[in-house]
Symmetry: D2
Subunit: 250 residues, 4 copies
């Protein structure tokens, strides 16, 4: 297991991340928005949200990241300054792999990182391990999504940059993980710390408002990964501002 | 089963396909190049090959199509006039499908069609059927890849625009399907004709030179789907010219 | 494509099937009961149902088949005379395939046939094709499950002994396929006949009573494949008798 | 995470395991033989090997376990006294899961435990976690197979009874893991101890003779999981005797 040492770098308006051994590191605390395959998160609609996020991020001074569909990575990455993540990739190498998502292809398209093992795209343990390694080789960050404390601990042992715990009973629902199950976040943070202190925890389900974001940070996570909390809200800019304010730099 | 009637349209230099009910149809005979996840077929390298294909296609007057990685669809489609195909898509609808490839996302990125069930990305029969339907809804053409006569017949029953038969023993090898196994292509053409005359056959493995392309057409296919025959050749332009000449418009 | 010629054989009380080229053939019309992984269909409970089916089958003179879990094949096959089917198998050969279901292993355990591509265990088109071939080599019959007319036609092209069409909207529900959608069964029978007349059709969803069984036969199918219609009914013997009477030999 | 306390029990000739909370525990040191889907490990051939293992085990007083195909569990478990393991199971519950392997079905058939995530049947991390839990509910032991140190650590975090590390480069080969890569076993033992001291390590590839077995124990593992080392050897009884002698009770 290899640990990274983090050297903070004076950032300009456009670079919203640190560097370590040349690896982009998301600045934390962070709000990661996964646009999934929602109609509102596809193609030009996706770019529109990314633009709003960029604006809010710069104005308020809060770190924001958008996770987009593979076909949209290049367009979004070319047009906004916030980091763009892929929603998935396959742990393949250059070669005869028709139709799979090559780490190098999304990196060249502009991805700064990648979600692995999202509950909607569960992965084999071996492929997650290889995915973390392949992402590191391509200098992309990794967020492994997990569904409970045990899997969170296991994921941490694979040395990703982040794990995002998403208890399935809270996904897409109205209950906030931080109010309903504060213990889950706290226990996940503790389990990860014991197994791999270099991995950070994101709170990944049931985040609906600025209060939830604040609570998530207090519980020891370094930010939130959310989808419906933004994507299914009519006034996206307003909710993004509210959430960003919860982590703004003083 | 719905059959399309094909109305030929006077084409300008840039439009290399017919229209039917608004659907782009690859002009045949055709040479489809699958760049797979080869290093030489990723990102800028992919665009470079697409440019060469476009040039050869226009000069010689031969229909050519390139099948690219998801992350490269938009860049290639925006920069060349030959049709761009996706190497795979998932038969999903708008919604919570993190990390999967949405038909509408690749369509908006510029894809004219999609390969389904490539031997390196085999699909469930149900998903192929849904994929053909979803592609049609998104006005994209489909090529179902198959590995033998039985599966070719089955694929034809799912009403794709094309099937591409690739006997596994010939993939990536030095043997030409048309010389080694001419009967396979002829039988596939016959089987498809009986089951679904609206589906056309591509010859999908062991195509190495202009002679193979000519032979494939004589055997009743409407073109070739190839990868290593171009991608592993040093002088790609030369081999593309040779193959294009074999199907040039007189 | 190879067609079998069927020679009827005088059957004793225990042999409820014909022979063709040494292959056991389910006697039709037939009632196939899939016990799934229901608690009532596991282990001794499964054997109990098989015994009831055997008794009803012999008394009324109606062909009945039970599809059981892999771990229960041997026990059931050793204790009843009705044919036992596996619910799935993998199209593998002898070798290094830890944890997969080898055709030869279920054959030796006593399976007469196998379901392929059940909606709860969808298979890749290539694997279905290989599964049909491997089953034939092991002298087992095949039932490919399908979800609509197109997939039914495609399945027929793979030359199974039977296809069982199960429109997903009717699975497990209270609506009978024969009353709600008689056209589906009739069209499936027609599509299969055109593509592969040696394959027979089973009606596979929404069969609740003797009337449904009778109707299914009238529509051109050779029997029914059902699960909840028997497994979720309290008095299993009664419903089995009612259904058996609908196909009894006069 | 729940830790079990192990109470040793005076064993008779037939019971080759301890009990803890009613759970059968393989007596260690142990030799686990995976018969895969080898012809020599299918049906009656499998039973024959199990009989030899039982005899050697009783004579020499060495703990031995056989991992068999699903269709063979019941026959083998009914005819030998050594513990029988399944080669795989699916983390499903009773219900509509046609064709999958239900924990309760293999338990009732006689399985004492189950391999999970064998390199030939890789599993999603979520399913491994659920598999461990479902096995525990059904009072079966679990061996999670892993391919390197990182995945071994991750597997330990899921609290199986055992992990078996099988570096892919050594599977089926002639090199012994203990001589070629002793560090791997030692590091795996250390990683597991740190993350979950209740989980034990098996050495899972490249075990060819008694010397390898002895070495594996010295390196901190509690036994070996092997396949070709026995299955591809002509005189199986001889090699089993040699390996058993290496762990015999003094």
């Amino acid at each position: 297991m290899e640990y990274f040492f983090f050297f903070e770098k004076k950032k300009g308006s456009g670079t919203r991340f640190y560097y370590c051994k040349g690896l982009h590191i998301m600045k934390t605390p962070v709000i990661v928005v996964n646009v999934k395959a929602y109609e509102g998160g596809t193609g030009r609609n996706c770019l529109r949200i990314a633009k709003v996020m960029e604006e809010v991020s710069e104005e308020i001074g809060a770190s924001m990241v958008i996770a987009v569909q593979t076909a949209d990575i290049r367009m979004v990455a070319e047009n906004v300054k916030i980091p763009v993540f892929a929603q998935h990739m396959d742990a393949i190498n250059y070669g005869s792999h028709t139709g799979w998502i090559l780490p190098e292809s999304i990196k060249e398209a502009g991805a700064h990182g990648v979600l692995l093992n999202h509950s909607e795209h569960p992965m084999k343990i071996k492929e997650i391990a290889e995915g973390v390694e392949r992402a590191r080789e391509s200098r992309m960050e990794t967020i492994i999504c997990t569904n409970n404390i045990e899997v969170t601990g296991a994921a941490a042992a694979l040395s990703p940059d982040f794990v995002a715990i998403e208890p399935p009973e809270l996904i897409g629902g109205d209950t906030s993980v931080t109010s309903a199950e504060p213990r889950i976040v706290r226990d996940a943070v503790k389990a990860v710390k014991e197994i791999n202190p270099a991995t950070k925890v994101l709170c990944g389900a049931g985040v609906k408002n600025g209060e939830d974001v604040k609570k998530a940070i207090e519980l020891g996570s370094v930010g939130v990964l959310l989808a419906s909390g933004v994507m299914k809200v009519k006034d996206k800019e307003k909710i993004l501002r509210e959430m960003a304010s919860a982590i703004e730099e003083k």
